[in-house]
Symmetry: C3
Subunit: 157 residues, 3 copies
């Protein structure tokens, strides 16, 4: 167990089986020392998209559920990273960037507070190495009407 | 003719003249062994944006036309890559990432099925090297009311 | 004073204090020779988001104000780059990519003209090194109802 696995255990997080892509692409690509992870939806630890994490912020779902959805996206990002790194999250040197897409009405602008669910999780688990650059935007819709999608880039050893 | 040109010919695809940027930027930048390609719209092989590939998925246009629009975006990505690489697509080592932006109504969530038009083309033409990480989102609008925009990052030799 | 500082002075631009992230992330990360900058909103030189630069293109605000908002985003990107580079913008080798997110109604498609405010500023200040790849999309909303958000990647010495 490396420090990251220990931290995940302390947080009571068991990484889910990484989600299979819902179409003809792959969940991650490594180029040089960059690991690029496909946009991850807010599937639960059971691999299913709960109704509680579907729909638009500002209409069907609200702050607490949105924050939880963003956190789930980050957990799914880590699950993909673990698969990409042959099971060894200790190879992560830095979370370089998260891109956060929030399924939102045109009137919902508290987007950063939602995306914090993903950012906070990354820092909780990776510590300083989890501190990332970030862009957050509200989009018209997301695959499967998911509330949040998060893509990522890591620097790896 | 390298393997990729042969494949394009077999698919009956003649890459169009790469589209000039519609504003003050460049269509691609190479940094190290990464080739970053600007968002490409679904211009046809004649360099024009057909009415059939304009408007929102879920309102003005529907699945088949959206899929074709995404495929055109990917063809335009390859046309830019070819220009960036001095005509030699054989220098592509890997399609690292595609970013897919779908012009969609707030109720249209079958976004991955549309973006498959781009992903499938990339794998058809590049084979395993075309298998990429991907993010797909539905946006409020796109330049010129195009139905799809696709940006790309490649690893090059 | 390097050439870039001289150019900024000639343009009458004093870079603002770089904006603190509005949530749990960092404004930039350096990995290898890439500098990745978090999405910057159109805060003014006083660090405040003016009402003139809030709202949606095509509804609350219009072309001139949108262009100015995009220009402010690019100025904030440069302010972050300066902080990231220990005050020395001369370490910038190339602006590789700008990602432009425009807060827009579903009917506003003159998005490139707005994003030009950012692209033009980058080229005005950095010259040929400022010529970048770019993606521009219209989104449902942005943090704090800002009109424009711009993220960036630079190649650095």
């Amino acid at each position: 167990m490396n420090a990251i696995d220990t931290k995940l255990a302390a947080l009571g997080i068991t990484l889910p089986a990484p989600a299979a892509p819902v179409a003809n692409y792959v969940p991650y690509v490594i180029t040089g020392n960059l690991l690029v992870i496909s946009g991850q939806l807010c599937f639960g630890l059971d691999g299913k998209l709960s109704d509680a994490h579907k729909g638009k912020l500002g209409a069907e779902i609200f702050n607490e559920a949105g924050l939880e959805a963003a956190r789930l996206c980050a957990i799914n990002v880590l699950a993909q990273a673990k698969a990409a790194l042959g099971g060894d999250l200790g190879k992560i040197k830095r979370c370089v960037r998260l891109g956060g897409f929030i399924n939102a009405t045109p009137h919902f602008s508290a987007l950063p507070a939602i995306m914090n669910g993903a950012s906070d999780l990354m820092v909780e688990v990776l510590g300083d190495a989890g501190r990332h650059a970030r862009s957050t935007v509200g989009v018209a819709n997301l695959p499967a009407d998911a509330a949040v999608e998060v893509e990522a880039m890591f620097e790896i050893a």
